[in-house]
């Protein structure tokens, strides 16, 4: 099983690289596009989430080690230390996801209040603070 996978990995290495990095960067750019062009506040918040998701995906992606297993020393894997994937990015991404969630939640609550206050959710109409 493991060997098979490694073989596939080696064979389609470029495509997999492209797939992981491309998806991640693509997600980031899509998120940024939404943030920068969409007028609706909720869409902007969604854009933020997508942007974050892209970064999180990159985190997970760079932690991968060719042929590595999950970094858990479960029974049968006691001495697999040298073939495990990098655990650090996974731990970090856990933190990052939770933080991203918290930010999104706060953002949505702000959107609710903005909508109540201005009766609109268009960002270019909410400009009472300027200059």
């Amino acid at each position: 099983m493991q060997e098979e996978f490694n073989e596939i990995f080696l064979k389609y290495h470029e495509i997999i690289t492209l797939g992981v990095y491309g998806t991640a960067i693509g997600l980031m750019l899509i998120g940024l596009y939404a943030i920068l062009t969409k007028k609706n506040l909720v869409k902007i918040v969604i854009g933020l989430s997508i942007f974050d998701a892209g970064i999180h995906l990159l985190f997970v992606g760079i932690g991968y080690v060719k042929g590595g297993t999950a970094p858990i020393f479960s029974p049968g894997y006691e001495n697999a230390g040298n073939r495990m994937v990098d655990p650090v990015p996974q731990a970090l991404v856990l933190t990052a996801i939770v933080i991203g969630f918290a930010v999104t939640a706060v953002a949505l609550s702000l959107v609710i209040r903005l909508y109540k206050h201005h009766n609109t959710a268009k960002i270019d109409q909410i400009k009472s603070l300027k200059w």
Partner: protein, 242 residues
Amino acid sequence: MKKVLVIILLVIIGYFLAETFINIPFGENRIGDINLEKPTAAGYYLSNTTEKSKVANVITAIVVNYRGLDTLGEVTVLFLATTGIASILYRRKEEEENAETERLSLPSSNIVRSGARVLFPTIALLGIYVFIHGHLTPGGGFQGGTIVATGFLLMLISYKGFNTNHNRMVWIESLAGLSFIFLGIWGLISDNTFLGNIPEVGKLNSLISGGLIPLIYIAVGFKVAVELTGILDILLKIKPKK
């Protein structure tokens, strides 16, 4: 016009990101030999977790122990998000009385409701299982807490009358948070270092093992569950304008 500008900008950013990541080959082993005298951080974690932290799940060890301060911060961020949302969407007493503070509820059929009632304990149980076994299997406090919160979400959207007990939630939240810190302080007292791991009971890969790690993760699990539920509760309580 603006869109064109944005697309041009994004293309440039994409180019530079790609340029950077081209030089970071995917799947390359950057950990190095874990048995070196001075390995990389990841290597150190992989080689030392079982002996020194006495847990099988390296990620859990990192999250709760090696980088425990991050997790404490993370818990704080969640706590602050709840607090913040509560203050952002706060209403004065008189507003509370005047406004219809009914929770937003989607029309749910009988099937959904009875299904939710059946599913809720299962989901909660699954969540609790996940955070109790955080040091053995993938998952842990955050994941388990989230699962529990989804159970509550299900209940909140299917039952109009379903109310979380605010008072009890405050208690659980505070106590869970405090127990995280006090477990850390226990380490500070006994080991002279905050979050220091207490000598283990039980064997590796058994439920009772890993010193303080599972205890902390359970506290985190409770806290996350309650906080997420709290956030959902507050956000759902806002009635949209007619």
